[in-house]
């Protein structure tokens, strides 16, 4: 057991640092620092740079376009991209449907979709939740009825993240109403430009248009766009949920987040001292750092287990619970740190609007981010559901 990086790892770390320093777009950095909302193009510009370099999908098997990095190299990669505050990559293609397709898809599906996910040509969204199916996802009611070589899909999905940008969506639909709930579900890939699809925005607490309702009315979907067997979609869904949870600890990003909170608390003044010298605020920052260290080493232990062929198992629910709690505490501390200037509502720069927004740059998104991040303990299986999973799968209750 040791934490040393080998000379090869150190050389790799330097290569990654140099690459980011030379290639990360300055305009994107500026927009991030100003606290502006990111457009589709903003998300894609860094994606395309990484694709060109061949570094877009480190977690994928090499045969499908992965990097073949060791777990240590992948650890270094996530540390360095977080350290440099690189914009996050959209997970819907790279971390969600991509792995489902290369694990369960047909040769045709793999050949068509995987390269387009890697290049960023297709933007994906996830059609899982429904108005009546949240934590109880298997109760979903959107139907797909066979009609020759097509399915006819009808129903309503909700909380569909960034569906307004999406070219494609992966959907869970009911193909057998009579089977037990989890045994009558299929996994479909649907072209979001298909006739019968309507996407309507849902505006969340921070004022963002991040999630949507998606209505499907007699949408025709070729059977060739079903992944895996009919009525076996729950297998794909479970695979994907476990896959989604492995990265969800968000350790590297939270480390960067703590540095940002500390920078704010060194700038903000409390009495005649920086806020960070306030014993109560300082203690909250310190507790957060300690909890993050515990999360980091739990994740490292879990990765070691995964390398030994054991995980990621249901204990990844622990990473989700603790990771999401830490992300929320970070945004709460940021909001607390900015004081009065949490209140002004910054709606982004309008057309030809050059006036500097109210308050310091670091304050612009403090409140919207705090509001927005309440989602982390709800999505991906709420933290209560994660506790149920641990109780059942780990504790055997």
């Amino acid at each position: 057991m040791d934490m040393e990086f080998s000379p090869e790892d150190l050389a790799f770390q330097q290569e990654v640092r140099d690459f980011i320093a030379e290639n990360y777009p300055a305009e994107l950095r500026e927009k991030q620092d100003e606290g502006e909302e990111m457009s589709k193009e903003d998300f894609l510009v860094w994606h395309k740079i990484l694709h060109k370099k061949g570094w877009i999908a480190p977690a994928w098997p090499v045969e499908y376009g992965g990097t073949g990095w060791t777990p240590t190299q992948r650890f270094i990669w996530s540390e360095e991209t977080a350290r440099a505050d690189c914009i996050r990559l959209m997970p819907f293609g790279l971390a969600m449907v991509g792995p489902v397709i290369y694990t369960f898809g047909t040769p045709e599906q793999k050949a068509h979709f995987l390269p387009r996910i890697l290049s960023g040509e297709d933007w994906w969204c996830q059609g899982y939740s429904e108005p009546g199916s949240g934590s109880d996802l298997a109760s979903l009611r959107t139907t797909a009825v066979r009609d020759g070589d097509d399915y006819i899909v009808n129903g309503q999905k909700t909380w569909t993240t960034l569906a307004q940008h999406a070219d494609w969506g992966f959907f869970l639909v009911r193909t057998d109403k009579d089977a037990k709930q989890q045994e009558g579900i299929s996994f479909l890939l649907i072209d979001m430009k298909s006739p019968g699809i309507t996407v309507r925005p849902i505006i969340t607490l921070g004022g963002e248009h991040e999630v949507n309702e998606v209505w499907l009315e007699d949408v025709r979907v070729p059977v060739s766009q079903r992944v895996y067997e009919e009525n076996k979609g729950w297998t794909c869904a479970k695979f994907l949920l476990a896959h989604e949870r492995t990265g969800i600890a968000g350790v590297a990003a939270s480390k960067r987040g703590i540095e940002k909170v500390k920078a704010i608390a060194r700038t903000e003044v409390d009495g005649d001292k920086p806020l960070l010298a306030n014993a109560f605020f300082k203690r909250k920052v310190a507790e957060l750092e300690v909890d993050l260290a515990a999360l980091e080493f739990t994740e490292l232990r879990s990765l070691a287990g995964a390398n030994a062929g054991r995980g990621p198992g249901p204990e990844s629910s622990l990473l989700k619970i603790k990771g999401s709690e830490i992300q929320q505490r970070l945004t709460e501390l940021s909001l607390e740190a900015v004081g009065h200037y949490g209140a002004p509502y910054f709606r982004g720069f309008g057309e030809g609007d050059n006036e500097h927004p109210i308050g310091p740059d670091y304050a612009h998104r403090a409140a919207p981010t705090y509001f927005n991040m309440r989602k982390t303990t709800i999505y991906g299986g709420s933290n209560e559901i994660q506790r149920n999973i641990i109780a059942k799968m780990v504790l055997g209750l």
Binding site: M1, K282, E287, A294, F297, R301, A304, R387, G396
Partner: protein, 379 residues
């Protein structure tokens, strides 16, 4: 980067675990902790001679297995699982750690005695006024010819009634709280002028108040430099702190497992109480604390070799987290057991008592958060 255990480390864990499950069941433990001496010397002898366990963390050239902090953590975690009272912590981790650090003739003489099970060494460092400040010392060692004369009062010296030797911190100079002037001595426990008042501790061990009354000690009892001993003492206490984190992990795991087991047997309202979601979620929260304690112990072990400031920050982070976790898991184990939890009858309460003492051993949560902040979040 590597988070796996070696085959030797797995073997140490398995061997010790098997030995303790055969010899250290709860009823047996209760029998010897309530005996006159408070221990069964045959167990210590077996750990040394049959298992070679006391050498796990020492170099091969002293007769050990070549291990270090990770081996200590493995042994301490297994002892935690049986709430073992064996003096492994003061003898091997602390005194052994000091001897490894100073090396030379003192190490060559004593380490083989430790490995053989002949030496039991208690760590006399705490003083009634000092709380967790290692430099807050009124005990003095005055130069006297080639040796020293020791005077002072050491409090709550675990394992002292059983000890052949004492590892003592004392002032050879400076004022009560100065960093300078602190020295470390390894002395015979039975020298004239050493007065002990022995007593049982709440967590099943034995300890003493020790009064040094003009105790003449030889010059070669000094470990390290005269008056410059504090960094060495801080280092070995950090090593000991991580060792109790490992012990806590074992204690917490058993508290959690015992609670899981009990809730599956205990019926109320016609069902095992483990069926109630409110208790399931609490036991998940306990599970998460156990796992995080294990993670923090490993983090601490891996960072013990870093420069002093980084080492101290890591150790304090680990101890602060483990202290909170031990508190949470212990209190909830008792709460979930209900009335039977607050009796002496079940093992669970005895695990709770040890967990509670570990919370403040070598510094409470608050002490370690303060130390962490002084290093990491300085203004």
């Amino acid at each position: 980067m590597d988070f796996t255990y070696t085959e030797t480390q797995d073997m140490i864990r398995d061997t010790l675990s098997r030995f303790l499950s055969d010899t250290y069941d709860f009823d047996t433990r209760q029998k010897f902790i309530n005996s006159d001496s408070g221990r069964d010397p045959a167990i210590w002898a077996a750990l040394a001679q049959e298992l070679g366990m006391l050498g796990a963390a020492f170099d091969e050239n002293h007769g050990g297995l070549g291990g270090g902090a990770l081996e200590n953590a493995i042994v301490m975690e297994e002892l935690g699982k049986v709430i073992g009272i064996e003096p492994y912590l003061p003898t091997v981790v602390i005194a052994g750690g000091a001897l490894k650090a100073v090396g030379g003739a003192q190490a060559d003489a004593m380490i083989p005695e430790i490995i053989a099970g002949n030496a039991i060494i208690a760590f006399a460092y705490a003083e009634p006024q000092g709380r967790y400040d290692l430099a807050n010392l009124r005990t003095t060692a005055k130069k006297d010819g080639a040796g020293y004369v020791l005077n002072g009062h050491k409090g709550v010296v675990y394992a002292a009634p059983w000890a052949t030797h004492l590892l003592v911190t004392a002032r050879t100079g400076g004022a009560t709280r100065d960093r300078e002037g602190v020295s470390l001595f390894l002395i015979d426990a039975n020298l004239p002028g050493i007065v002990r008042r022995d007593y049982p501790t709440v967590d099943g061990s034995r300890a003493s108040e020790i009064y040094f009354e003009n105790v003449a000690i030889p010059g070669d009892a000094l470990l390290g430099g005269e008056g410059t001993g504090l960094p060495l003492i801080e280092q070995i206490v950090d090593e000991a702190t991580i060792a109790v984190c490992a012990e806590a992990t074992g204690v917490m795991q058993k508290l959690h497992e015992g609670t899981l087991e009990y809730t599956q047997q205990r019926k109320q309202f016609g069902v095992p109480i483990a069926k109630f979601q409110v208790l399931q979620h609490r036991m998940v929260d306990m599970f998460m604390e156990v796992e995080q304690a294990r993670s923090m112990t490993i983090m601490g072990v891996l960072k013990l070799g870093l420069p002093a400031n980084e080492r101290m920050a890591a150790v304090s982070a680990a101890k602060a987290k483990v202290a909170r976790g031990a508190n949470f898991v212990g209190q909830n184990a008792i709460q979930t057991h209900g009335g039977i939890g607050i009796t002496q009858e079940l093992a669970i309460g005895h695990y709770f008592k040890r967990a509670t003492m570990i919370e403040s051993q070598f510094g409470s949560h608050d002490y370690h958060m303060d130390r962490y902040e002084r290093i990491v979040l300085a203004d």
